[in-house]
Amino acid sequence: MIDAVDRLLELALSRGAAAAEVYAEQSVTRRVKVFRGAVEELTSARRKGVGLRVFQEGSVGYAYASDLADESLREIVDMALANARVADHDPDSVLPAPREAPAAVEVYDPGLDQATDEQRIDLALAVERAALGADPRIKSVDESAYADGDAQVFIANSGGVRGQFREGHCYAYAYVLGEQDGQIETGLSFTVGRKPADLDPQGCGVEAATRAVELLGATKPKTTRTTVVLDPFVSASFFGVLSSALTAEAVQKGRSLFAGRIGEQVAGPGVTLTDDGIHPDGLASAPFDGEGVPCRRTPLIADGVLQGFLYNVRTGHRDGRDSTGNGVRGSYQSMPGVGPTNLVLSGPQVPLAELIGGIEHGVLVTNAIGIHSGANPVSGEFSVGISGLLIEAGRVGQPVHEVTMAGDIVSMLRSIVALGDDARWVPGGSVLTPSVVIEGVSIGGA
């Protein structure tokens, strides 16, 4: 692969690119889904591909291919150059200089590839078994799966940046249906790690089952304004959506509700949000980002005060500063954008039981749907569907569903009054967050 990377870089420069960058990846992924004690689907895959970014007369063009034969490489050089001709001049599109060493973070564990297919199947089965055995009201485990990926990433640019690393991860999850008196409620849980031995299939299955069963008997609560406790799953989704407004790209393009607010109190006192690209436990950690810039830790909100934004090379150049190592890529098929790595929400933490004990009326929100369609990171407005448990006189009780929760993100952040002591990693966006207590939130029900 590294050979194809070098050939492509050379070819781009020899065919007229003023500067060029090649990003390549090669991976093996495996997935097993089980249903009712048997394998439902077993997938194994090999994937490779290369993306080329060329810079010519101040414009950028991009092209990619999965075929690494010479003819295909020539084709993408021509395509990238043609795309650069149509793109507008962009004085900020530049390559990063080779300055610093990649971050020292280990993101591959050889234990990943020592696992056998039988062990992978057993893990998925163990998750399903744990969920089914957790409660007689579990109707079925709609999905129970194990998946892993072992990828190698390469980058080289004409300015001398060169690097490669190997990344591995695995996870298992269960999506469980509980049933009582004809009512069905669902529960989801994950377990993630660098190798199968890191996973907790029993805990995952039981938690998914518990999350479904505790909602059985749910009713619609009255429409009101109340205190909500977002559990880590729900909190992670919210901060995931919010993070797009914390990129320099959103700020520079006039679509961030945080623009011009650095130094202002944007969240409740004590609330600290950090983008941590080198957290040893974060699945989005890496030695360098999609442009070869070393990953690092970037404070976004400290004690409720907005500290700064996430940058890639281009948005950094525009503001006269360095990239924060947030030049993210979806795959070799996409140009680097700007986005979070691992988001870590921290602050003074209070035992969860104590927090709930102090709430007279409220809702413990354990599930939110429609966050991606219902939360608008540009306007800051959100309105989502939730389910959870009512809190009355400091006790968690009656489950509720078909409820909406609405507000605006900034008011909600400012109304965060406490954080729980139950911080955990939630995959998807890779967020480390505890439960979050927010006052004065509108909920809509009957």
């Binding site: 075929d67 395509m79 795309n83 079925s140 569907g385 609405a406 605006d408």
Partner: protein, 466 residues
């Protein structure tokens, strides 16, 4: 090796190899996809990216089990390796289902003719449309502060061969144009979105089309600047046409996909013939509507697409099947076996899902509503098929008072349960329209359409901030 080099002999040998230790069915799906995406933001064409990917997947099924292996190397070695990987799961078995010999490749009969292949049009012509959209949106109102316009074209050539003797080729061209407008006034920010997507060529676009999409998106964003917070609670909801079809897609469509039915995780399981909607509701899925974004001549298993009635006068009449679930149930495939790419197994998916139009006019419906919420355009949603609970965001909403559309309302979400909501549909207008979108399920994104006329739901929960 290229897609065209895959001979019937090689495909047949791969299928036999996959089945050599057992199994009921084997398939090879190969594709070659070229795409180009352009995007404009901040008045500049800043992303011009294209590429080509090709690859194949070998699938083996045995009872309810599926084994899949894919690679992006279209080589004989990798085809053998993939066949070995799937057959290894059944090693020790005595040999699988007989394999029907593959004949000549049957080219799928296209649903529409591509008049202007996008690849034949110069890239700067496409870029000019984005600039025209940008100018039109900015000229529409001084409050417009940002325009993000996108152009996407793709040509996917595919070949599917299976042990039942199918050997089908398809050639799909899709073009999509999107405009997102941000408007800002006195510290309030709102967005508006419009799109046009078809399984057709560049003939669907010109400067007029680009400008009118841009003006419509700008209109939405600017109108919403004056919006006040939406109310909260149950009320009558008038759902707009086109994007309003997201209602049916989320509230019902996902629950009709046969994988959920087979697993008992859909509320529609065991309810065939039951009244699941108001008697005025007739609904169907149609993957064969000529040129629609969600259409194709065949699905991703090579089965012809079709018009499938799912609800007739409120009664449940049909489910959406892929090959695996159809064979398992002993029913006919409905052409709904779809996949994002060769990297995914086909699963039952909607194509263009529609509620048939009625005879009322939109004015009649509004006039008949004393107090309610007019959800003119929806932003997308999500459903839990097992419970039928769904939610979707409203992109453009208004208050209805005394039979008249009055103030714009912002920040609303609609929540409800599929069957409850379908049963409360009490008026359907005649202004039927299909809109294009992307639907995600099991980590696979596929192009879909929603078709609907304006309709009224007697009561559902609106979640606003007012």
């Amino acid at each position: 090796m290229q897609l065209d080099d895959l001979t019937a002999d090689l495909l047949g040998a791969t299928i036999r190899r996959a089945l050599r230790h057992g199994g009921d069915f084997a398939e090879v799906f190969a594709e070659d996809r070229r795409s180009l995406g352009l995007s404009l933001e901040d008045r500049r064409l800043e992303r011009a990216a294209g590429g080509r990917e090709s690859g194949f997947g070998v699938r083996l099924t045995s009872g309810e089990r599926t084994y899949y292996s894919y690679s992006d190397d279209l080589s004989e070695t990798d085809l053998q390796r993939a066949a070995d990987a799937v057959s290894a799961a059944l090693r020790g078995g005595a040999g699988g289902a007989p394999v029907t010999n593959l004949g000549a490749v049957a080219a799928a009969r296209g649903t529409a003719v591509v008049a202007v292949p996008p690849a034949a049009v110069a890239t700067d012509v496409k870029a000019a449309l984005l600039r025209a959209a940008d100018d039109a949106a900015r000229a529409a109102d001084p409050a417009v502060s940002q325009v993000i316009a996108g152009y996407l074209e793709s040509r996917q050539r595919l070949l599917v061969a299976n042990s039942l003797g199918a050997l089908v080729a398809d050639d799909r061209t899709r073009v999509r144009f999107t405009v997102n407008v941000v408007a800002r006034r006195d510290g309030v920010i709102q967005t508006g979105y419009e799109s046009l997507g078809k399984s057709l060529g560049f003939e669907i676009l010109d400067e007029d089309v680009a400008q009118s999409l841009a003006r419509a998106a700008a209109g939405k964003a600017v109108t919403m600047l004056d919006a006040r917070p939406a109310p909260t609670g149950p009320m009558a909801v008038v759902m707009g046409n086109g994007f309003g079809g997201t209602l049916f897609h989320e509230a019902c469509g996902h629950g009709l996909e046969a994988d959920g039915i087979a697993k008992g995780s859909s509320i529609y399981e065991g309810r065939m013939g039951d009244l699941v909607a108001s008697a005025i509701v007739n609904a169907y899925d149609d993957g064969a509507i000529a040129g629609e974004w969600g259409s194709a001549a065949v699905d991703d298993e090579g089965a012809p697409t079709q018009h499938t009635v799912v609800i007739e006068q409120g009664r449940l009449r049909g489910f959406l099947y892929d090959g695996l679930r159809a064979r398992d149930k002993g029913v006919a495939q409905t052409g709904n076996g779809r996949r994002q790419s060769f990297r995914h197994v086909p699963i039952p998916r909607m194509t263009t899902t529609c509620i048939a139009p009625g005879e009322a006019s939109v004015d009649d419906i509004v006039a008949a509503t004393d107090h309610g919420f007019y959800a003119k355009s929806l932003a997308g949603g999500q459903v839990e098929p097992a419970s039928g609970n769904f939610v979707f965001g409203v992109a453009e909403g208004y208050l209805i008072e005394h039979g008249r559309v009055t103030a714009p309302l912002r920040g609303a979400t609609l929540v409800g349960n599929g069957i409850d909501v379908l049963k409360s549909i009490d008026m359907i207008a005649s202004d039927f329209e299909v809109k294009s979108g992307i639907c995600g399920k099991d980590g696979q994104a596929v192009p879909v359409g929603t078709g609907q006329a304006t309709l009224r739901i007697a009561a559902m929960t609106v979640g606003g901030t007012g």
